[in-house]
Subunit: 387 residues, 2 copies
């Protein structure tokens, strides 16, 4: 097992009707001025917005709605200005991963002197050195952002998706109420399933490195997600919904990666498909992952076989089980209603493999994956074979 | 799934040669006067004590050695006095669960006005309201105390073992170096295995309550511990030792109990066996657990069967698999060298079942276990059948 250091100070408040805790959590750290950040109108439509506003009656609240799926830098910068004007001392994210990611950026940018985009571009000397504290009220189980310190921010006019994060960006608390699942469209639930599944596999489908417990924890999430897949059809079933939400949090709360060298190349390619074509994040992962595993089959064979045996209960030799595990996974995504071919989402894909490899080259991402063996030729072939 | 709230702010620093991080961790929170608490001479014998002292050269260090296995109130109160005299602003626990538990008590008692024993006895109005911050350097994987906020304190002249804990008592950091396992006697490693195994089972062997992921996480720990059982014979094997240490932490870091109603009756009875006869904590659990599961077989049958199927790979109907799972577990403890009968440890057991039920009655513990169905008659029969 590799050495590791892990900390996760986020308070998870999980279950039904827990929002009564909200005023107390804010009062005990002396909050006065809250920036309430949300996305589209769904939180108002389902009545959650008014419930939250009611709980915030003792605080000065400034609303900021309109954060997009794949939160946009230009939008978030407006929130930063509003936060500064209103002396905001706490930010509340009311939404899914995009709103929460956006709030992480806002919380760092508020006190940043200079252009915060430089931080995302990792320009030398450009880092967030403080962050306004924030909490979350999760409305969509998927990204795990409610329980980690990472974020992905988009700038669509440049067709860029950039990552950020660090110890400053853990939520103080996250309310995780599984009853929100029943308010979601099927597509979002299915995306959430794929997202949690792929977060787990990015940390798992590598090569054996003596992390026996971490592997079993990952297999536990994968097996549970398969067991509760019916949540897409029955989102009102609390057993299914609560396990989905718990799995999505655990898939990316920092636990699975303890002492583990991860892959994450599917995410890196997927981010570009989202930036280029506006494909949902989870859809982009479902398109790329099976192709990446086939391209790197020999290197990932042992873990693919372990995954096939333990999660899908397939028997046979490593090659047979490994290949069938890929097929099973792709069929699983399809069974959720998530299509797994780039051409299912766009016909405008000509030459995109070159665009993506050019972006990777510019960023110096020429040796990716757990073995640093995924090169630009691999990237192009993976994208091409995903069409 | 039941509602839950969970937080665990302890920084885990896992692996070899990580102690260089220690001075920085103390400096960044402005520590000046450190109380270094340890147990017997083993930390000196293995050279760890001098390594730690070297890292502490920039701080005022007051040593306090001699904390017992099952840390004694009388000993700890001496440490409290020394801490007060020396304006200690940080405590470093160098040891296993007993030293760490002791430090949790010391950290709360330092600023407590009055007799700190009253807090352990839960006298009305008697609570620790602040704690001196502390960190740990773990020398024995077993109790999980390095990653939780609970402690057990003994007062042998009264034959009492009392629990304490709460949000104030999370370590700031814990150094978990698996190479310490190679310095331990076989008995302590075997005890650690049983301890981690039983912590997991206390939170798992109850009844189905829709916690699908928590169950799989528990099964992952149990399966891993079985897989690495050879660590007792090969403690120098880093793969085995690191997985044991990771399992022991994860067995009691608050994760498995999320939304779960636990049992813990084996622990409560076991504590009394330790208090009465000085039996090692893990040994007391190995003695009681199989008897408790048999006594409450009908109530625990479904989970026992799931445990048997998923962890021990036994096939058959619930009753057959459940009963065989108990046998397998007892044999597993024995295979580690841990005996599973009270008479293996003492011949002085006459009437102890009455003593224990009398203590439970006095404390009002007359309806225990996950269903509150374990009564004083059950307690006596469980103890009697364990002889």
């Amino acid at each position: 097992m590799e050495n590791f250091e892990v900390i996760n100070p986020t308070r998870i408040i999980f279950g039904k009707n827990q929002l009564d805790r909200l005023p107390q959590l804010l009062s005990e750290v002396g909050v006065k001025n809250v920036l309430l950040v949300y996305g589209g109108g769904s939180v108002k439509r389902i009545g959650l917005f008014s419930k939250v506003m009611e709980k915030l009656s003792a605080f000065n609240v400034v609303e900021f709605g309109g954060v997009e799926a794949n939160p946009e830098y230009a939008t978030l910068i407006k929130a930063v200005e509003i936060a500064r004007e209103n002396n905001i001392d706490f930010i509340l994210a009311l939404g899914g991963g995009s709103v929460i990611d956006g709030v992480k950026f806002i919380s760092g940018a508020i006190n940043y002197q200079g252009d915060a985009w430089d931080v995302l571009e990792r320009k030398e000397g450009c880092v967030f050195t403080s962050a306004i504290p924030f909490g979350t009220i999760l409305t969509l189980p998927a990204t795990g952002s409610e329980a980690n310190s990472g974020a992905v921010i988009s700038r669509s006019e440049l067709k860029l998706k950039m990552t950020m994060g660090g110890p400053l960006f853990f939520p103080q608390f996250s309310f995780c109420d599984p009853t929100v699942v029943a308010t979601l469209p099927k597509r979002q639930i299915a995306n959430g399933m794929v997202d949690a599944f792929m977060h787990t596999l990015e940390q798992y489908l590598t090569y054996p490195m003596d992390n026996l417990l971490q592997e079993r924890e990952a297999e536990g999430i994968l097996s549970t997600l398969i067991e509760i897949a019916n949540v897409v059809e029955h989102p009102e079933d609390y057993k299914l919904a609560s396990n989905l939400m718990h799995c999505a949090t655990h898939a990316l709360n920092g636990n699975l990666r303890c002492g583990v060298i991860c892959d994450w190349t599917t995410h890196m390619i997927g981010h570009e498909l989202t930036a280029l074509f506006g494909i949902d994040h989870a859809q982009s992962l479902a398109v790329i992952a099976p192709r990446l595993w086939k391209r790197k089959f020999i290197e990932k064979q042992e873990k693919l076989a372990q995954y096939g045996r333990r999660v899908w209960k397939i028997e046979g030799d490593n090659e047979t089980v490994g290949r069938l595990a890929i097929t099973k996974t792709e069929e699983f995504f399809q069974s959720l209603g998530v299509k797994t071919r780039l051409s299912d989402y766009t016909s405008d894909h000509q030459g995109c493999e070159k665009k993506i490899s050019a972006i990777f080259k510019e960023r110096g991402w020429t040796a990716m994956g757990e073995r640093k063996s995924i090169n630009l030729e691999d990237i192009e072939q993976i994208v091409l074979s995903s069409i």
